[in-house]
């Protein structure tokens, strides 16, 4: 099982995403934004960071990178694609998932261990969660406020395309506490918080059991592997 992680100019979490893929039991494949080649990977991760310095709009310039033509094609064929933070912004800019992102309503960069509710467990990246399960993974962004027009919000709420919702605290003013969404088919998922930073004991969020022992992010990646095996 090979999962590609695309590095863009300004990506920060590509190495962490590769590590998460390895910890989940798949082989990470480093992909480059300027190539027109997905190297026949089984799934794709668009990592977090500040591609192109967030110039124009977060994720906007990266969404037109050469390799995005192949990503859009693969997404439309049903290949699992996960966009994390800046990767989520790229997916939205590429119109692979609904909505868009603006500056956090409080105007500040925020970093916190964020509780989320899993709202849809039938996507390619959430099959190993329980419906309504609460998980904690790190969040860190400045442009994380998810917005869409009323009809779009009503549609994605109705179709189960809201995959994750912020619990307890809405950290950025996102409409309906939406933290992550999917495309209609459920193979493309984007979210602002960072599952790849909660995949290894000793380096994740604190839990009631022990400091930094939170590994709720690991199941994003094992879910994708299971979904691919089940095909």
């Amino acid at each position: 099982m090979r999962i590609g992680v695309i590095t863009f100019p300004g990506s920060l979490d590509d190495r962490d995403a590769q590590r998460a893929v390895r910890l989940a039991g798949a082989e990470p494949v480093a992909l480059w934004h300027g190539d027109h080649d997905l190297q026949k990977v089984d799934a794709v991760v668009l990592p977090g960071g500040f591609s192109y310095g967030d110039y124009l709009r977060a994720g906007a310039i990266a969404s037109h990178a050469p390799i995005m033509a192949e990503v859009i094609d693969a997404a439309n064929r049903g290949v699992p694609v996960l966009g994390i933070c800046n990767g989520f912004q790229m997916l939205a800019e590429a119109r692979l998932v609904p909505g868009a992102h603006t500056r956090n309503s409080h105007q500040q960069f925020i970093r916190r261990d964020q509780k989320l509710t899993v709202e849809n467990v039938s996507t390619a990246w959430t099959g190993e969660f329980e419906q309504g399960e609460e998980i904690v993974i790190p969040l860190k962004n400045a442009d994380g406020r998810f917005v869409a027009d009323e009809q779009t919000i009503a549609r994605i709420e109705g179709e189960g395309q809201v995959v994750f919702r912020y619990a307890e605290v809405n950290p950025n003013g996102s409409i309906n506490d939406i933290a992550g969404v999917s495309n209609e088919r459920g193979n493309v998922v984007g979210l602002m918080p960072h599952p790849e930073h909660a995949t290894e004991p000793g380096f994740g969020p604190d839990t009631p059991l022990a400091m930094r022992s939170g590994i709720d992010g690991l199941r994003f990646f094992t879910s994708a592997i299971s979904a691919l095996v089940a095909r």
Partner: protein, 92 residues
């Protein structure tokens, strides 16, 4: 060199935190009488050659597809500033 000016604003119904912060600063400075501030973007696209209908059509496309995101922003004006003839101010 002629320049095409594209202006993009956040949609009216979208919260503009930057504009809100500036409006708050005005109030703190004692500048009353202003109901609000919204902040948008201005793109100055220098054209290598004359501004033909084709160039203008292409910039209109770029304005919609790249300079703005229609989910959160509107292209409010596209004007040609032909440096040789002074500001034309023609709105398309």
């Amino acid at each position: 060199m002629p320049t095409i000016i594209v202006e993009v604003m956040p949609k009216a119904e979208i919260l503009d935190p930057q504009g809100k912060a500036v409006a708050g600063a005005l109030t703190r400075l004692g500048k009353t009488g202003y109901a609000g501030v919204r902040i948008g973007k201005r793109f100055e696209v220098s054209v290598d050659g004359p501004v033909t209908d084709e160039v203008l059509a292409e910039v209109r496309e770029l304005a919609n597809d790249i300079f703005s995101n229609s989910v959160i922003e509107d292209v409010v004006s596209i004007t040609v500033d032909d440096a040789a003839d002074g500001p034309a101010g023609e709105t398309h």
